[in-house]
């Protein structure tokens, strides 16, 4: 058993400072345990979100030593404990208190995405889908909405672009666009409303995703290719206009 110093951002509405707390480290402990220990022993009102403590709900997102992570899935023995452990809230979102930020923006973006519009059922009342048709999107459905990718993406974090949905919602749109039952074409809004062109595929979203979803490679790049095919491929455009004239 040993003691380690934690420095936690405390304050309200982005005004605050790093406060030091000493934590007793035990075997197998994760960062969230340390936070809970600090709450119980030193700072009753330290604000933090968490639910499951098993990496399933995506509530406990924060920046640990500057890296966006889930606190409940960050083991203390991964961190250098000779230096203080720095815990800050996600920087991208409006700050509320201590480690809690206002993530409601993400819910608003999600609201803009048109829901699945499925084709009709088969005659026997079922839907037939083969495993190979859905395995690609099943990966996207693993998302636990921790919003770490939304937080780290430089397009909004640094560059403050407003017309940009962000990686979490690109995988959601990908999961609809590649859905074997979906009947909508989502490429125009992807380009114009959700701003996929702002993504410069630098893959920070993929780097931080706790569910190991290959966000950039499996969702964003394929979507970019689809958008390219629909809007930026001169020969394809020519071909389409020729065939539509001849019809």
């Amino acid at each position: 058993m040993s003691e380690t110093l934690f420095k936690i951002f405390r304050g309200e509405r982005a005004k605050g400072e790093l406060c030091g707390y000493s934590v007793e480290v035990t075997e197998g402990m994760v960062v969230l345990d340390a936070i809970n220990q600090i709450q119980a022993r030193h700072a009753n009102d330290l604000a933090v979100r968490w639910n499951c403590k098993a990496g399933k709900c995506g509530s406990c997102s924060a920046e640990v030593n500057g890296k966006p992570r889930l606190m409940c899935m960050t083991r203390m023995d991964e961190l250098p404990l000779d230096k203080p452990v720095i815990i800050e809230p996600m920087r991208r979102f409006p700050h509320i208190k201590d480690l809690v930020t206002d993530v409601s923006l993400n819910y608003e973006i999600n609201q803009q995405i048109r829901p699945l519009k499925p084709k009709p059922r088969e005659a026997d009342g079922t839907y037939r889908m083969q495993q190979k048709d859905i395995e690609r999107i099943q990966e996207f459905h693993k998302c636990i909405e921790c919003f770490l990718c939304q937080n780290v993406c430089h397009v909004t974090r640094d560059q403050q672009v407003q017309e940009f949905a962000g990686p979490r919602f690109f995988i959601r749109i990908a999961s609809l666009a590649m859905h074997p039952l979906d009947t909508l074409n989502r490429l125009k809004e992807l380009k114009d409303v959700f701003g996929i062109g702002y993504c410069n595929i630098t893959k920070c979203c993929t780097e931080v995703c706790p569910e190991d979803i290959a966000i950039t490679d499996n969702a964003i790049i394929p979507l970019k290719e689809r958008v390219a095919g629909a809007f930026y491929d001169p020969l394809a455009l020519l071909w389409r206009s020729l065939t539509s004239v001849s019809k």
Partner: protein, 249 residues
């Protein structure tokens, strides 16, 4: 539809971060690697000599297009194609946006403040990557043919160290090209329901096949980049007489 999403926090300033690991190592070495290649290849293309030895031909000059009306190095007649292919490759884009443009240089490190427009406006040409892919596929054939030719020597069939190097060059370039994201899209990625379309199963298999290379696209990008430069260097040194090609068979 509403199309702007409000942001309130001040943005992190340039290079600001709480990260305490050596996050700058990767962009640093990436930048060095990319710049070194650009400098060497430009220099080699300008040389306009020592690109051939016996049946060996430097990939910077393949296919060899020598015309009277062209006053410069023949390399420039072809180099735009592989250069454009790599320049618009999704992996290289990531690499230079990070290490050269610094948008951002590493994750959760403040990006370069600029009038950021992503891959829109000027950078829309990145969407032409698929055309460079078509050409690159032709180059894979050409370089394979050159590799095949490199088995022929004045005294008949044989294998020299240069043969091996050129063959590997063709292999690495093909592995890199087969992992291309545009290829992945074309062969099957654009299909939503494999069991609903014609040749769905074949397209699924083809997509799976491309995925294998795509997963290590970054690795193939670097291996093939290094090797193409190395191939040129080897042939150059041999033709300059600085080293002699060793005949294995």
């Amino acid at each position: 539809m509403q199309n702007s999403f409000q942001i309130e926090n001040p943005n992190p300033s340039f290079l600001e971060t709480s990260r305490r690991d050596f996050w700058w190592i990767e962009p640093f070495f990436t930048a060095i690697g990319l710049l070194a290649f650009v400098i060497y290849s430009t220099w080699a293309a300008f040389q306009n000599e020592h690109y051939q030895w016996e049946s060996y031909l430097s990939p910077f000059y393949a296919p060899l297009l020598e015309y009277d009306w062209w006053p410069f190095s023949p390399a420039f007649l072809i180099l735009w194609a592989p250069a454009g292919f790599r320049l618009t490759c999704y992996y290289y884009r990531k690499a230079y946006y990070r290490s050269l443009f610094l948008t951002p240089s590493a994750c959760a490190v403040g990006g370069r403040p600029q009038n950021y427009r992503g891959e829109r406006f000027l950078l829309l040409f990145q969407n032409l990557h698929r055309y460079f892919l078509y050409i690159a596929l032709v180059f894979c054939v050409i370089l394979s043919y050159d590799a095949y030719i490199s088995f022929t020597f004045k005294d008949g069939l044989g294998i020299g160290v240069g043969t091996v190097i050129m063959t590997l060059n063709a292999v690495f370039l093909t592995a890199f090209t087969f992992g291309c994201n545009s290829l992945r899209h074309l062969v099957g990625g654009n299909v939503d329901c494999y069991s609903c379309v014609n040749f769905g199963h074949q397209r699924y298999q083809a997509w799976k096949f491309v995925n294998i290379f795509n997963m290590n696209h970054m690795m193939w990008a670097w291996i093939s980049l290094f090797w193409v430069g190395f191939t040129d260097l080897y042939i150059r040194l041999v033709s300059m007489g600085i080293i002699t090609d060793y005949r294995i068979l």
